[in-house]
Amino acid sequence: MSASAFSVALIGTEGTIVEVEAAVGAGLPRTVLVGLPDSALYEARDRCKPAVQASGLPWPEHLLTINLTPAALPKAGTHYDLAIAAAVLAAGRHVPPESTSNTVMMGELKLDGRVQAVRGVLPALVTALHAGMTRAIVPANQLAEARLVDGMTVWGVSTLSDLVDVLHGRPISEPTVPPAEPNPEPTPELDLSEVAGQHEARWALEVAAAGRHHLYLQGPPGVGKTMLASRLPSILPDLSPAESLEVSMIRSLLGELGDGLVTRPPFCDPHHSASLSAMVGGGPRVARPGCISMAHRGVLFLDEAPEFATNVLDALRTPLESGWVNIARAQLTTRFPARFQLVIASNPCKCGQHGVAEGKCRCSPNDARRYLERLSGPILDRVDLQQHLLPPSRASLTAAGTGESSAVVADRVREARQRQARRLAPLGFRCNGDVPGSVLRSTLPVPRGIELLDHALIRGHVTSRGVDKVLRVAWTIADLAGSDRVERKHLQTALAMRQGELIGAAA
């Protein structure tokens, strides 16, 4: 006698439907589990049997073969337990064998038959829906997460007996367990009004937010680099429904999704001791998302960026370009989305005082240069905006709290984003920060006052790559000003922001 049930194998945020087949045949009592399971999954045999027996149901007293198809796909995790138990019970005709069709099951079993929460319920159900499944059975305390997927009938089960009742078509009592631990009160976003002075840097932050430009903040310790960067999410617009689903799926894979979809852009600030696999994702056999994927559709902030390991910084190059990260392992390659906005902050040198008036820098000029060179090259090529921060004067400090609040800035950013969307959507882009140089120079209307840029190029004030950066930023400034094309003054401002960078680099 045989029967089957369904679950999902997750590779990144993409899944494959896995059919769990159970066959009872002649032979000494033994349970065989095949289909490339990892050790946590292989142990499912030993979890499911006591759980089934604890629920007052028999485990087959013959040779039981459980096969997870497609058998060549490596599978990991403990979420197959429910499907395995259901397939075995259906093979023994303790539940109707046809009751498991079109039903995806996710959940881990405890020995006493209770059902435990698992990671990845959201992406699994999205996969199941696309594969044409119509019903889902999940742990009771993940019912809210499962209900985020429209178009499926979802049951939350707290015990294996509940599962049996559902498969028999009997009503089950509403979950007695509290529906998930209530989300830790979402920490209120930090507000830009708390930043004292630093008007130029606030402006750079606003431009970065509006055009989704990568941003580099440089300055001595204590000037507010971290304060500014951590407030960037507060002026970014809400995630679109599609983005929200992407971000929530990653959160679900990490087991961190609460009751609702994530609607605000995430912020991830790994410490500079971060390892390569913490940054890009990794782990044995089936990879887990790293910081760059946790920051997908949000902000990745690298504080003290030159202190990061060189290989970790270099690993950011491909995802910065493609918005994806492919993690290759012997048996399979996992792909995670990683379209993040990069904000890097650094001191001007190891001690932090280089180039500061009245500062006492203890570094040799060579050391200072070498410190910053760790960031040079491909990473900085992708950064449109460099902002040098100086310690605020006393006058601007006392004026603290008078700066605009995040809400005010966010309104301007949102409008600028809408303007960009209207202009760039036909070209397949969303923000100025994503537009490649060729499109900037040939497809979009030529800015007024372009001779300013020619002049700067001839004089050697900007490089040809710098021209692209100035153009991108100029478009964002125009968008913020509510202008449909780049005027001379917008280009001037963009050039001035660029000059500040050159002055800083020369210092």
Binding site: A26, G27, L28, P29, E61, H62
Partner: protein, 122 residues
Amino acid sequence: MSVARVTRALGAWGEDVAERHIERLGWTVLDRNWRCPRGELDLVARQHDGTVVFVEVKTRSGRGYGSPLEAVTVAKIAKLHEMAQWWLREHQVRAPRVRIDVIGVVREAGGVDVDHVRGVTR
């Protein structure tokens, strides 16, 4: 009676049940409780087609600890194979085919349950 004696008596009863079961199948019982230095073969029988079958009988007085068949381990099966060779050599029996079966006997409230698994390998 001591616990060991009760167990032994239960085992002997189970072997009787298994022997009757085999006779009902029409097989010829060749030997019973054959001892050698490696252990004991519970039953040796010949099927209609000449196959010599070595039968391990496992008896339980209830299902509290699961099926008696679960008590047959890989090591036990390896030992049965070894003893089967030994028995064939000693009795100069030429068998076209040899097989190892396990018969589980459970004494239940309503009677006896016999579970016969043929051709055991691991």
